[in-house]
């Protein structure tokens, strides 16, 4: 539903690890993603698909058993940041400038959640992303999101470049 718009002749910093090889990097270098057990499903030029396994700790409304809205923000933010990383020609620090999440409907209780983010435009300083979240079918999302990200916002490096710089 969200076709990758990045050009095929572009070279990508993460192209060597596109596909399912990124999970370890994400889970190892983002403590909160590890805490929530967020996993990478798929990555490619300018896009990322992540999943968040359902567990009781994520519930916002105990009477309905529904995941708290902010949890979806976290999943989408993580997917969007990764999509930006997957759109870059060199790895640079990525910082969220803003996010707007529309809650299209309640997420179904007890289901694993997915988010797919597409970075559809990268300028020198800013990356633009759209994302959606769903339980099973990407064309039946319960949330959609627009986000903008600053590239090279600080000198501290990305969670991905962190380990490399230290070693």
């Amino acid at each position: 539903m969200l076709p990758a718009r990045m050009s095929d002749d572009r070279r990508y910093a993460l192209s060597a690890v596109f596909g399912p090889a990124l999970p370890e990097m994400v889970s190892n270098y983002t403590p909160h993603a590890r805490r929530l057990r967020i996993q990478v499903v798929e990555t490619g030029p300018g896009f990322a698909v992540l999943t968040l396994p359902f567990h009781e700790e994520l519930i916002g409304d105990p009477s309905r058993g529904v995941v708290f809205g902010g949890v979806i923000t976290t999943l989408i933010d993580q997917a969007s940041g990764l999509a930006v990383a997957c759109a870059l020609e060199e790895l640079l620090a990525i910082a969220t400038v803003d996010l707007r999440v529309d809650y299209l409907r309640a997420a179904r209780p007890g289901q694993n959640l997915f988010a797919r983010a597409e970075c559809y435009r990268v300028t020198r300083n800013i990356a633009f992303v759209r994302a959606s979240a769903y339980e099973r079918a990407p064309d039946d999302p319960f949330a959609s999101c627009l986000g903008t990200f600053m590239i090279g916002a600080n000198n501290a490096g990305t969670p991905f470049s962190g380990n490399r710089a230290k070693s």
């Binding site: 916002g60 105990p62 902010g70 969220t96």
Partner: protein, 128 residues
């Protein structure tokens, strides 16, 4: 309010607590290793900051309505990230901009050491 926070599993996961102030109460998000997004800075995960803002907005609405029977449902939530949120406790305060019959608009600000230097601002619309 504190009992309500304890009843929300995700608020417990984040360790959010309520602290009374001269004009009402603030939400406090204690720093922990678990909420880090970028360990190199280190900085708190943007999603956690967003969740914390949304939680604060929701709690203020519930407090205003005085009832937990019908929990307001978020329509959308928008977050501006203003500064990197460092390894410190974060506080948030909400203001209900408009409380209509069906829709409420809530503004939230989060800061760490200096209230004049917010780390993030949120704007949420909720269906009542």
């Amino acid at each position: 309010m504190s009992r309500l926070v304890d009843a929300i599993p995700y608020a417990r996961l984040l360790g959010v607590r309520i602290e009374p102030t001269a004009i009402g109460w603030d939400c406090v998000l204690p720093f922990s290793e678990d909420i880090i997004g970028n360990p190199r800075l280190p900085a708190i995960h943007g999603g956690v900051i967003g969740s914390f803002l949304e939680l604060t907005a929701l709690l203020h609405l519930i407090d205003e309505s005085g009832s937990t029977e019908r929990v307001p449902k978020p329509i959308n939530f928008s977050i501006d990230y203003l500064r990197s949120a460092g390894p410190h406790d974060t506080r948030a305060r909400a203001q209900i901009f408009k409380l209509g019959r069906r829709v409420a608009v809530v503004h939230v600000t989060a800061w760490q050491d200096d209230e004049q230097k917010p780390v993030a601002a949120g704007n949420g619309k909720f269906l009542l």
